[in-house]
Assembly symmetry: C2
Homo-oligomer: 120 residues x 2
């Protein structure tokens, strides 16, 4: 089953038009690091340092900003433990897990087909 | 089935690490306009002007650059007809269609859940 913009707009006329909620959410998810941060958390709860290692190449600043966006979207849950040194853990919410399930075929396709695509 | 970075890397250790082919392809697909251009073409062959209207808000420059990247990736086919005025049509290749199928659950989820996500 292949979904097109036209098909999506046949039931939701505003779907993915400029400024509509679905365009905003698509931009968050497909931001430079969004997909990778979500896919890292798909494995389970991670601490800051673990998350940064999994998402190879992300800066502290971009990780912080991506996580803040996803917290605001209700996709990622942040839990801070009052310990010394402080411990902060991140996990997917139920909604975030749903999104990761919907993203899984894309990730699998990209990894399986990357060599062919790069070869042109 | 939820795919995580760790799971992908259990069979392809380099999967989505910085600089590896799958990271390059993911960056192309999830570029600012990539998903929308592919989803527009999922409907069928489109001319430049039709494509630009479907992908609401894209500039001429970004549409040209996104299409060039996808042509190079073997995802989009460009056909120029020697007519006056010149006619140029764009369509998905077989590989591009496969990618759009893999992207469909994500698009559907985004459109179905956008209001809830934006509400936080």
């Amino acid at each position: 089953m292949m979904v097109s913009l036209k098909l999506l707009r046949s039931t939701a006329p505003e779907a993915l038009t400029a400024g509509c909620p679905s365009r905003v959410v698509l931009d968050h998810v497909t931001s430079k690091w969004g997909v990778l941060v979500l896919a890292a958390l798909a494995e389970g709860t991670l601490r800051w340092g673990e998350l940064r290692r999994e998402v190879d190449g992300i800066s502290e600043k971009m990780l912080a900003s991506t996580l803040r966006t996803f917290e605001g979207d209700g996709l990622v849950h942040r839990e801070a433990y009052p310990e010394i040194p402080p411990r902060v853990e991140y996990s997917l919410t139920a909604r975030g897990r749903e999104l990761c399930e919907a993203m899984s075929p894309l990730l699998t396709w990209v990894v399986d087909n990357a060599d062919a695509v790069v070869a042109g």
